[in-house]
C-alpha cells in the first residue's frame, strides 16, 4: 500500500491549433522519445506496461486502442486504453505499479482535434439520445445552464468569470508552448458575442493538437532513472451522475471535483489544501469552471473564488497561483490529454524547469482535470518534490 510512485520522465510534441507536419503516430513517437530521454534515455523494452487515454470518435477510429503500441515502443507488451481523462490513465498506471506486478509504466494521451470537421457534433453524440439530442441544439447550452446556475447559487459575477480569461491568457504569454496567450481587457471578454448566455465565446478554451507521454516508476526504479523524481502523493477521480436530469446537486457545483479531491487529499495526508499546497493547475475548459473547481477542491469556500481572484490571490505572484501555464484558456484545450497537460506544468514547476513563469519555493502542486460537457468526471493528483 505504501509503495511510492514517482514521475520520472515527461515529453510532449505538437501543441498547435493544427499539426499537419506529422501524423498522430509520428507526433506520439516524438513525445515518447522525448519522455524516455527525459528519464535517462530508457529504452521502451525496459518499460513494463503502457496506458493510453483516448476516445474512439476523437480519432475517427473504432477501437482506437489498436493503434497505441507501435509509436510507444510497446509491441507485445501489456498495453491498455482508458476512455477517460489522461489523469485517470495516470491513475491506472500508478495502480499497476502499486500492485507490484509492474515497476515502470508509461501513460500517454494525444489530441488531433484539428482532424475533426465538427467537434460540436461529437459533443452532441455524447448526450442522451432520447432526452437531449432531439432538440438539435448546440451542445454548449449545457455549459450555459451550468454557468447560470453556478452564478445564481454563489453570487459570482459574470465579470469575475471574465477575469479568469484575462488572467490565464496573460499567463500564457510567459509559456512558449501555450498557444492562446493574449493581453486583453475584461471588456474584450464580456462584450464578445454570447454563445450560450451567460457564456461568451471567449469563456471557452480553444482547441489544441498535441501529445504528451509520462513515465512512472516505483521508488526503487525512480531513484535509478532520475535525480529529480516528482512523487505522486495522492490521486483521486470521481464521477457524479451522467444524467443531466438528476444533477440537482451538481449543476451549479462540481461534485465530481469535490469527491476526487477528497480522495486525493486523504491519500496525501492533506487537511488544509490552501496552506499545504503551493500552486495548482486546474481545469479551465470554461472560465466559470476554474472558479467552480477552486471551490469544489476546497481551496476556498463556496462563492469565494471570484472575490479572491479579484484580490489577486490566484495570480502568479499571489498567495495561491492557479494556472500559471495559462491553463486551457491560454494554452488550448487538449481533450483527452487535458489532464496530462495540467500535470506537465505541475511537474515542470516542481522541477524548477518552468522558465520565465517559474514559481519560487514550490514543493507541492495540484493538477485537476475535468472531462468537459456533458460529463461529470474529474481527476485530481497531488505531486511533490518530497517522497
Amino acid at each position: 500500500m505504501d509503495k511510492k510512485v514517482a514521475i520520472v520522465g515527461i515529453g510532449y510534441s505538437g501543441f498547435g491549433s493544427t499539426t499537419p507536419d506529422l501524423s498522430y503516430r509520428e507526433m506520439i513517437f516524438e513525445a515518447a522519445t522525448k519522455c524516455y530521454q527525459d528519464a535517462g534515455g530508457i529504452h521502451p523494452q525496459s518499460i513494463d506496461s503502457f496506458v493510453a487515454s483516448s476516445e474512439d470518435f476523437m480519432e475517427g477510429i473504432s477501437i482506437a486502442d489498436e493503434y497505441v503500441p507501435d509509436q510507444l515502443g510497446a509491441v507485445l507488451k501489456p498495453v491498455h486504453s482508458i476512455t477517460g481523462d489522461s489523469l485517470q490513465g495516470l491513475a491506472s498506471a500508478m495502480m499497476q505499479i502499486k500492485t507490484g506486478q509492474q515497476s515502470i509504466v508509461a501513460a500517454s494521451a494525444f489530441s488531433k482535434v484539428s482532424n475533426l470537421s465538427n467537434h460540436d457534433g461529437l459533443v452532441t453524440y455524447a448526450t442522451d439520445p432520447f432526452y437531449i439530442r432531439p432538440f438539435n441544439e448546440n451542445p454548449y447550452f449545457i455549459a450555459g445552464l451550468e454557468m447560470n446556475r453556478y452564478l445564481h447559487e454563489t453570487g459570482t459575477t459574470r465579470e469575475q468569470c471574465a477575469k479568469v480569461v484575462t488572467k490565464n491568457r496573460s499567463n500564457a504569454l510567459n509559456n512558449p508552448s501555450a498557444l492562446y496567450g493574449a493581453r486583453i481587457e475584461l471588456e474584450d471578454v464580456t462584450e464578445a458575442p454570447v454563445l450560450s448566455y451567460p457564456l461568451g465565446i471567449y469563456d471557452m478554451s480553444g482547441h489544441l493538437d498535441g501529445s504528451i507521454v509520462v513515465l512512472l516508476a516505483s521508488e526503487e526504479r525512480a531513484r535509478e532513472l532520475t535525480d529529480k523524481p516528482i512523487w505522486i502523493k495522492g490521486i483521486g477521480w470521481a464521477t457524479d451522475t451522467p444524467n443531466l436530469d438528476s444533477r440537482i446537486d451538481g449543476m451549479g457545483s462540481a461534485v465530481y471535483a469535490r469527491l476526487a479531491a477528497q480522495k486525493a487529499y486523504r491519500m496525501a495526508g492533506i487537511n488544509n489544501p490552501f496552506n499545504e499546497i503551493d500552486f495548482a493547475e486546474i481545469d479551465d475548459t470554461f472560465s466559470y469552471k476554474e472558479l467552480q473547481h477552486l471551490e469544489a477542491l476546497n481551496l476556498c469556500g463556496p462563492g469565494e473564488a471570484g472575490k479572491l481572484l479579484e484580490l489577486g490571490c490566484f495570480a502568479p505572484d499571489g498567495d495561491f497561483p492557479v494556472n500559471v501555464s495559462g491553463g486551457s484558456l491560454g494554452g488550448g484545450y487538449l481533450h483527452e490529454a487535458n489532464g496530462l497537460q495540467r500535470l506537465m506544468e505541475t511537474v515542470l514547476q516542481l522541477r524548477g524547469e518552468a522558465g520565465k513563469r517559474q514559481l519560487h519555493d514550490v514543493e507541492t502542486g495540484l493538477a485537476f482535470a475535468w472531462r468537459g460537457i456533458p460529463t461529470a468526471t474529474g481527476a485530481a493528483v497531488i505531486l511533490s518534490t518530497r517522497p
Binding site: 439520445p129 445552464l145 451550468e146 454557468m147 454570447v194 450560450s196 457564456l199 436530469d245 440537482i248
Partner: protein
C-alpha cells in the same frame, strides 16, 4: 530530435479525407424499459411520471427503473404522476445553431425542476421578465395525434402567469 523529417512545405501537407462519412452508419436507440413507459404516459395521457426511491427520499423525473444512488429497483408502485408543472432551475439563451452558426433569435433552453428531477426542454410563450431562476413553468403538450412517444411530445414549457 526524435523525428528526422517533417512536412515542411505547405504543398507537402496532406490530409486524408475519405470523401464519405468516416462512420457511414447510424444507430437506432430504444427508449428503454423506463423510457418506454415514461413516453407512453406522455403520449397517451399527457402525464409526466417520476419514480420514487423511498430509501433516498428522491423522486426521479423522468422516471427510471432504478435509483442511481442506492440501486433499489423502482417498481411499478414507485412510479407516480408528478404533474406537469415545475420551476426554472436554470436557463440559457443559445445564440449559435447546432453547427456553430450565429443566430439572431436565441433558443431558450431550460432545466425545469419537477420533484427531484430536471427536465431539459425549451421555453416558449415568455417575455424577458420570465427569464428568472425559480419561476414556475408548465408543460405545453403537442396535440395528441402528433405525439410519437418522445421528448418533443411536449412542445415546450411556458411560464405560469
Amino acid at each position: 530530435m526524435a523525428i528526422m523529417e517533417r512536412n515542411s512545405r505547405n504543398i507537402d501537407n496532406r490530409y486524408w479525407n475519405p470523401g464519405f462519412k468516416a462512420f457511414p452508419v447510424k444507430n437506432v436507440y430504444t427508449a428503454g424499459a423506463a423510457g418506454q413507459r415514461f413516453f407512453e404516459e406522455i403520449k397517451n395521457n399527457s402525464k409526466i411520471l417520476g419514480s420514487r426511491c423511498e430509501k433516498c427520499e428522491l423522486t426521479y423525473v423522468p422516471a427510471r427503473i432504478y435509483c442511481e444512488r442506492c440501486f433499489n429497483r423502482l417498481e411499478e408502485k414507485n412510479w407516480i404522476d408528478v404533474g406537469t408543472e415545475g420551476t426554472i432551475y436554470s436557463y440559457t439563451l443559445l445564440f449559435q445553431t447546432q453547427n456553430g452558426e450565429p443566430r439572431e433569435n436565441p433558443a431558450v433552453m431550460v432545466a425545469v425542476r419537477i420533484a427531484d428531477g430536471l427536465l431539459i426542454h425549451r421555453l416558449g410563450e415568455f417575455s424577458a421578465a420570465d427569464l428568472e431562476i425559480d419561476k414556475p413553468v408548465k408543460a405545453k403538450f403537442k396535440p395528441k395525434e402528433k405525439r410519437k412517444g418522445c421528448i418533443e411530445d411536449i412542445d415546450y414549457f411556458k411560464p405560469i402567469k
